[in-house]
Every structure is written in structure tokens, then in C-alpha cells.
Amino acid sequence: MRIGLTELNLRSAATLDEALEILRDEPRRPVAGATDVYVALNFGTTTDRKFLDIWALDELRGISASGDSIVIGALTTYTDLLRSREIQQRLPMLAAASQLVGGAQIQNRGTIGGNVANASPAGDSLPVLFVAEAVIVARSVEGERRIPIREFYTGYRKSVLRQDELIVSVEIPPVTGRQAFRKVGTRAAQAISKVAFAGVRGPEGPRLSYGSVGPTVVRVPMTEQALASGAGIDEAAKVLATEIKPIDDVRSTGEYRMRVAANLLRWFWKETAQPQH
């Protein structure tokens, strides 16, 4: 049930420095586009009552190049991502994932930083960030931490992000090889994923990531290794079955998720068999 307004305290920061100072002084949950936070408040599923509005921090918006990497500001929305030529050309899988996040209303407000911070195993952009080996850049008044996404999550909706830290950007090193993204949702649009998959097939072997098959989004290194060392797809699928343990919930079943995860692996392997032109 909805949480009463009087209990809520939303403080707004005008600059990043101000935001970091506020976070240093007291724990406040950052609010960007509010698409996750306000759903939780409307349903009474969060105990947070103090919030920090960072929506106005324009310095955290935008997509830029830094050397070979793409730097995506934390407040960059899905709409920004799917319209970006840079993203369309270099990270088509991220554009594809962004397109499948909710309707236009959610794409206009949901941010990449929020998706990372929310730490949901169903976060739509996360499998892409896992196979792209993204680095999450977090800042506090004490300085900056650069955290590889594979080290970012520690459990269901838990991450290494400290209360005084704010995600400022996501850095994506160059990705070589063919990219693929599939989201299997509860319906064709406005859906939460039942299984999500991102894959890159590059010269040093494949990188594979799944969402919604465990408490966090995961890479599947053993399956990657099997394929890299020349195992057949059937054998790789068997390895995958030992590597993920999807569960039943209100949206799907563990059995279905497992079967589809294997099918998507086969699909990916077949789709990417021909080298890119």
C-alpha cells in the first residue's frame, strides 16, 4: 500500500559536489528518473524515506568518447541511448535493450545509472553491460572508484556501492565481435524480463550474460570457456545447465527459464556463426 507523503523527504541537489556532500552527511537514496523508486513507494515495498533528487545534475548526462571507450553519464536515459548514433553503431545490443525497456514514458525517465543502482536481476541493460565488461564509476567526496560490473553485485538487490557514493557514469571499453541481445518478457512491450540474454562473439571467445536467472545478472564463464575451447553447442548447453539455477516466481518458472536460456545460447551461436561483414 502507498506510503504517506508526510513521511517522505526529498532533497534536491543542484550540483554533483552538493549531491556528494549531502550523501556524506546522511544516507539518502538517490532518485534519478524515479521509475523504480516511485513504484516501490506506491506499493509500499521500500523502507527508504529520505531521498536525494539528482535529476537536475546535467553534468551526469550524455554519451561521450574517452579514448577507445564510450562514457555514458549516469543520468542518460534509455531514450538518449536508443537515439544515440554512437550507441547504435558501437553497441547495437545496448540500443536494442533500451528499446525494450517499458514504453516511451519509461524510456524517457529511466536512466542507465538507475538501472545499475537498482540492482535488479531483471535490469534490462545489465546483461549488455556484463558482456561489454563495463566499468561502473562511483564517486564520493573521498574520490572515485572504478568498479568492473562483474564485481559490482553481491546478491539479490545488493551491490558494493556505498551509501555515500553516487554512480556518475558507466564506461564501456571497445567491444569486438558480433553482438546480440534478447529479452524474453511477459509480453511484447512494457514487460519485465523472464529471461534476458546478451552475447558477444569476439576473437578471444564468447562472452555471455543472462538476466532473471538468478539473484543477480550473471556471466556464465564455464559455458563461455566450453565454447571457446571448441565444445559443441549441445555440450555447452549442458555446461550452462550446471551454471545457472533459475527459480519459479510470479512471472515464470525455473524450468522454462532454463530451457529458454539454453535455446537462446543455441540461437546466439547459430546467428553469430558467420563472421560480421
Partner: protein, 700 residues
């Protein structure tokens, strides 16, 4: 140009598109406070204690001891309390009501209820308590089956379906001079009146119900608004102030009614040449914890259970049973979508068993004029099974695609169905619906309790009156339903608002025309002042129905439909994409083609959701996915092209030949989709046919 048969300007005005139309939550009254319902959190138990863990100053608190007369929602039975007294029988059962001027304080108020929990019953097949049993017998089913070449058996299941009207339930009770007015999002204002009379007794005789603009109903606002109105009224009486109760989405989904889950077993005897010679059908509907409308839902379900087919030896047995789940209730189709899903999925299996094409099999066995239904009703000329079937097959190039899609990821399937219009059997006779037309200084005004809930009641009634009176459409007004001012035209349900209420209005208009004696309404009014004509419905005199034996003319007429589903199955994810759904439907005659098309497109979309997406997950007797994120209905991207074909075969007893239409489109999509899945090679016997179920079937 006549109004009937043309898509004239709607009587709704522009308000719905400008935001000016006022729905329940848009209304405010001086001194209004807000109400909240405290509900059970166990599926079965005895209430041990209720503790108010907040400062109760300024709160109005109501429990069963505040009931003025009788603590029972008066519907078909009086078994359901407005507020639980000692025991609770299902999750989310109302126990205590709170009201406060400040919504924030209301939300924060904490009520702790302790229960002595008892073992709940969730499995309808294990339930020993029936709200209603039905036994329809035609011929001798055992001898029919004994003479068959082949017997095909099967069990078919359907789940709950949630209405998901986009406006959740809400009412406001407003104390007024000498009584109480209820403003609310309701389908059946006079049902609310009946329930409130029982609740309030003689102490509060003057209650009236005014329907606000209503954001969808689909059956979901047929009976439950009586409960909410009772709650708001009790809070209003105790506080002496207007009380508004608006459910949020989760409360609406957890607490209010849904479509009955069903288990239908078929045993069908068939000859190798394709003739059906015996149908034995067993229907179970899960009624939930109270009777509500389950007996009539079961009734309609059973009457439609043999599908639109001829069979001399038929037995249909049904029971609606008790479980410790929130009561199920009315939902567009009212039992028929469940049983028609079962029989239509079964018929494809029967055809397959004798190696016959499903179209040919249906053509051979489909009911024609002069044929006799399971209840012994001889069908009249307005029966169109063959017409809709042939048109659907032709229009979709079904036979060619059936061959062409084999071995691909595409598939095609169809369903043939019918839907009885109006109340069952003697229902319309007993209902004694009334309608009225009043003269106004500029024309006439329609005064009926039938509600506009999006389907076009106002417009369609005005069209009928316009043409029957022969006056300009613009001079016909439609009164907002207010039970103190309009005639009780019966509930807005059962596809009866056009065919039955429209018919009374047509007769009123003819009578008025006679009384006008050639004058225009305005001239007559100037000369003679006010005039009203009120009439009661008279069903066709040939309708004979024996409720004890369940035999006779179940409905004055039926609408007929044939749906063809063309779809693509994703081999990796088992997701089904609807490429095209062709809905060929005959419903007498469309009064307003654009509105009629909207009924078919909208009902078809709901049917596709029912077929594929809409999965109520029950855990410990409560809906576990009670959010729109997790109970998903179709978006723009989930529905392919819907091709609507409206065929005409007028019903002489309807206004300008019209039959009922609202529910018919709901019946066809689910079996058409499942039969297409069968064409692809998947044996699915349960809906929703989610990718999870399809994947299990594919793996088997």
C-alpha cells in the same frame, strides 16, 4: 438518413477526450472524507482480536456491529457479509472500515488482527460444497456413446481472468436531505439499491445511486460495487459526512471478483463419417468463498458447453463449488468463454481422431435452423453457424494456409461459437425490465438505468428512439442513470442492453409517436406539457423454459461467430505472436457499426489476452501478481491485425433486428489460438497458453 445502421455522432460528447468527463475519483463534495477497508490476511480462520495500533482521534471506525439492518450483500443469495463478523472465508475479506479527512493519516493507520487459522480449501475438485448443480439431459448419452466408432476424451482448464478496467472501483456516499446519494463507477445501479435496502432496512429508506462516468466494467462492476457502496454508506452514516472509497490497483485485483476458473471434461462419441453421436460433459467452476453470481455463470456455461453442434444424445453436468478464495463473478461471456474454449479445443481433437478436417467436421455437425440444442431449443432462421464458418474460411483462405503453414513456425486455427443474448430462460420474464421516454421542450429524453460503460449505451439507445419516433437524432437526450429518476431497465449485463432494453425503448417510442398524433415533440410539449411513456419488457411468447428440468428455450436468440487465428511461434522462447485474428460475427444487425466494431475488436483483444497472457497466480488463496506489471494485458504490440466482419441475420424480436453483441467476441479467440497451436503440433489444453505451458507441451 436513418440513425440506426449509421455511425452517428456519439451521445457521450467530447468530454472523454478532453478530460472533462467526471469519473468517481474526479468528484469531490464539501466535507468529504476518505474511506479505507481493512481486509483479512488469512484464507480461512476465526477472528480472535482486532487492535487499533494508531491514535484513533478523528477517525470513523466501522465494523459489523454498525450494520443498520442486515449484514449481507443481497444478490442471488444473502451469504456474503459486508463485514466479516467472526470467521473469514477468504483472503482480502473486508473486516473493518476506517475513514478520515486526511488520506495520509488514513494510509498510516495500522490495524492488527489476530486469527485462529484453519485449513483452507483451494482445490475445486476436492470441494464438497456446491453453490449450484446443473443437469442437462437430451436423449441417452450412454447409448449414444456405446454406438460410436470412436470415443475421444479430454480435460480442459481455464484460469482466473482479471477484468483490468483501467479505472479501478470507486464510490462516494453523500448524505443528503432525507437520505443518501451514492455516486459511483457501477454497471448496475439498481443492484446497488437492492443491496443497500437489505443492508440499511427501514431506518434509511431514501437511497439513490447515480452512475458516474465509468472507466470500463466488463462484468467487473456488476456486483462488487454493491459491497463498496455498502461500506461507503456505513461510514457516511456514522460520520455524517460524504465518504469516498477509491481502490488502488492492487486492492482492486486482490479483493474484487474475477472470471471463474473452470475444469471441463469431455467424452465424445463420433462415427467415422464424422457424425457426433454422444456428448458427455462435466463442468466444474470455482466459485470462491461466496455464492455471488456463480449459479448463473454456471448455468450459461453449461448451456453453451456442447458448443454450436447437433447431437441427439447429450448430457451436461455442472457444479459451481466453494473454495477459500475471493468470490468469482461476472466477466464478459459469463461462463461461456470457459466451456466454449473446452468444446472448441476438444472438437479439433475429435476431428483429428477420425482424420477429418476441422472445417469439414464443423460444417457437418454445426447447428442449423430447425436443429435442436442440448436444452431442447429448436433454432429459428436467425441461426448462422454455417454462414459465419463459410465466410471465415473463405476470407482467410483457411484451407490453403492450413496446408502451406505445415512444417513452418506459422500456424492457423479456428473456432466456431455462439452466445445466447439476454437473461437465460425465464430470466427476462422475471426481471420485468422497464424503460421510459420523457418529452422535453426540445425533443425527448431517455430515462433508463442501463449504464454507459464504454460500449455505447447512450448512443445506441438514442438511435433506436430517433428512428422509431422519426425525429432528429440531435433532439434525443439520454439521462444520466440516477435510480430516483430513471426506470429500472435491469442490469447492464448479458448482452441485453441493446436487444432487450433497446426493444422496450423502441416500443415506448412507437407508443409516444401515436400519442403525439402527428405533432413534433416540441409542438406537443408547448401545447400539452409533459408526457412520458413507460413500458415493461415482454419476451417473445414462444419462449418456454422449465427451470427444474433445465429444458426449453434458453435464449430468445444467439449471436454466432467464427474466429480464425493466424500466429507465429518462436521456436526459441515459445512466445506466440498473433499475426492476424479474423473475427466473423453475426449479431442480427449493427445499430452503430463503429461502436459494434469496437465491441468486436475490444472483446477479441480481451479474448487474446485470456488465451495467451493473462495468468492470475494464486498463492495461499490470494492473487500473488496483483499489479499491472505482473498481471499483463495486451499492449499495442501484443495484438496483430484484427479483421472484423459483421454479418447480418436480423432477429425479429430485437430493435431493428439487433441481437446482443457485447459478450460474443470474448468466446472465440482462446480456442482459435489453441487450435492453431495444435496445428503447429502442440497439445495445449489449458489457458492461458503461456510460453511456460507451451514449452512443457513442446518438451513432452
Amino acid at each position: 438518413m436513418p440513425a440506426v445502421g449509421n455511425s452517428v455522432a456519439r451521445k457521450d460528447g467530447i468530454g472523454k477526450a478532453t478530460g472533462a468527463a467526471l469519473y468517481a475519483d474526479d468528484l469531490s463534495f464539501p466535507g468529504m472524507i476518505h474511506g479505507r477497508t481493512i481486509r483479512s490476511t488469512v484464507p480461512k480462520g476465526i477472528i480472535k482480536s482486532i487492535k487499533f495500533d494508531f491514535d484513533t482521534t478523528g477517525f470513523t471506525i466501522v465494523d459489523f456491529r454498525d450494520v443498520p439492518a442486515k449484514n449481507a450483500v443481497d444478490l442471488m443469495s444473502q451469504d456474503q457479509p459486508f463485514l466479516a463478523e467472526k470467521e473469514v472465508k477468504h483472503m482480502a475479506e473486508p473486516i473493518v472500515l476506517l475513514a478520515h479527512p486526511d488520506k495520509e493519516k488514513l494510509l498510516a493507520a495500522k490495524v492488527v488482527i489476530e486469527y485462529e487459522e484453519q485449513e483452507p480449501l483451494f482445490d475445486p475438485e476436492r470441494s464438497t460444497e456446491s453453490f449450484k448443480t446443473i443437469n442437462i439431459v437430451k436423449g441417452d448419452v450412454e447409448s449414444g456413446l456405446a454406438g460410436a466408432d470412436i470415443i475421444v476424451e479430454g480435460t480442459y482448464r481455464t484460469g482466473h481472468q482479471e477484468h483490468v478496467y483501467i479505472e479501478p472501483n470507486g464510490v462516494i456516499a453523500v448524505p443528503e436531505e432525507g437520505g443518501i446519494a451514492i455516486h459511483g463507477s457501477v454497471q448496475c445501479p439498481f443492484y446497488v439499491i437492492k443491496a443497500l435496502r437489505c443492508l440499511l432496512g427501514s431506518a434509511h429508506p431514501n437511497v439513490r445511486v447515480i452512475q458516474t462516468e465509468t472507466g470500463g466494467g466488463f462484468g467487473g462492476k456488476e456486483e462488487y460495487p454493491s459491497m463498496i457502496a455498502g461500506h461507503a454508506v456505513m461510514l457516511a452514516i456514522k460520520s455524517g459526512r460524504p465518504v469516498k472509497i477509491i481502490y488502488d490497483r492492487t486492492e482492486d485485483m486482490i479483493a474484487t471478483t474475477k472470471r471463474h476458473p473452470s475444469i471441463v471434461k469431455h467424452r465424445t462419441g463420433v462415427m467415422r463419417d464424422g457424425r457426433i453421436v454422444g456428448m458427455d460433459i462435466d463442468v466444474i467452476m470455482d466459485g470462491g468463498a461466496y455464492v455471488t453470481l456463480s449459479p448463473t455463470v454456471l448455468s450459461r456455461g453449461c448451456i453453451h458447453a456442447a458448443g454450436p453442434y447437433r447431437c441427439d444424445n447429450t448430457r451436461i453436468r455442472g457444479r459451481a463449488v466453494f473454495t477459500n478464495t475471493p468470490p468469482n463473478g461476472a466477466f464478459r461471456g459469463f461462463g461461456a468463454p470457459q466451456t466454449l474454449f473446452a468444446v472448441e479445443a476438444h472438437v479439433d481433437r475429435v476431428a483429428e481422431a477420425i482424420g477429418m478436417d476441422p472445417v469439414e467436421f464443423r460444417r457437418m455437425n454445426a447447428l442449423r435452423p430447425g436443429d435442436v440444442t442440448a436444452t431442447g431449443q429448436t433454432l429459428k432462421e436467425d441461426s448462422s453457424a454455417i454462414m459465419v464458418l463459410d465466410e471465415a474460411v473463405r476470407r482467410t483462405d483457411f484451407m490453403r494456409k492450413r496446408k502451406e503453414f505445415k512444417g513452418t513456425n506459422r500456424a492457423i486455427g479456428l473456432s466456431l461459437f455462439f452466445h445466447g443474448a439476454g437473461f437465460t430462460g425465464a430470466g427476462e420474464l422475471n426481471l420485468k425490465s422497464r424503460a421510459r421516454i420523457d418529452l422535453t421542450p426540445t425533443g425527448v429524453r431517455i430515462a433508463v438505468g442501463s449504464t454507459e460503460i464504454g460500449q455505447g449505451t447512450r448512443t445506441m439507445h438514442a438511435q433506436i428512439v430517433t428512428d422509431a419516433l422519426g425525429i432528429p437524432y440531435e433532439t434525443v437526450e439520454v439521462m444520466q442513470p440516477d435510480t430516483s429518476r430513471v426506470a429500472d431497465s435491469g442490469p447492464t449485463v448479458a448482452s441485453r442492453t441493446c436487444m432487450v432494453v433497446g426493444k422496450i425503448l423502441e416500443e415506448c417510442a412507437y407508443e409516444m409517436k401515436e400519442k403525439l398524433a402527428g405533432l413534433s415533440p416540441a409542438d406537443y410539449y408547448r401545447k400539452n406539457g409533459e408526457m412520458s411513456v413507460e413500458r415493461m419488457y415482454t419476451p417473445p411468447d414462444w419462449i418456454k423454459w422449465d427451470d427444474a428440468a433445465y429444458r426449453g428455450d434458453a435464449y430468445a436468440t444467439f449471436g454466432w461467430g467464427c474466429d480464425v487465428a493466424e500466429l507465429t511461434i518462436d521456436p526459441d522462447t515459445y512466445e506466440v505472436r498473433i499475426d492476424k485474428l479474423t473475427a466473423v460475427q453475426e449479431f442480427g444487425r449493427p445499430i452503430h457499426p463503429a461502436l459494434a466494431r469496437g465491441q468486436i475488436e475490444g472483446g477479441t483483444a480481451q479474448g487474446l489476452g485470456y488465451a495467451l497472457l493473462e495468468n492470475v497466480v494464486m498463492k495461499n488463496g490470494a492473487m500473488a501478481n496483483a499489479q499491472l506489471t505482473n498481471y499483463v494485458i495486451p499492449t499495442t504490440l501484443d495484438i496483430g491485425e484484427i479483421d472484423v466482419v459483421m454479418l447480418e441475420n436480423p432477429y425479429p424480436g430485437g430493435p431493428f433486428g439487433a441481437k446482443g453483441l457485447g459478450e460474443l467476441p470474448m468466446d472465440g479467440p482462446a480456442p482459435a489460438v489453441v487450435n492453431a497451436l495444435r496445428h503447429f503440433g502442440l497439445d495445449v489444453r489449458e489457458i492461458p497458453a503461456t510460453p511456460e505451458r507451451i514449452s512443457t507441451s513442446a518438451a513432452a
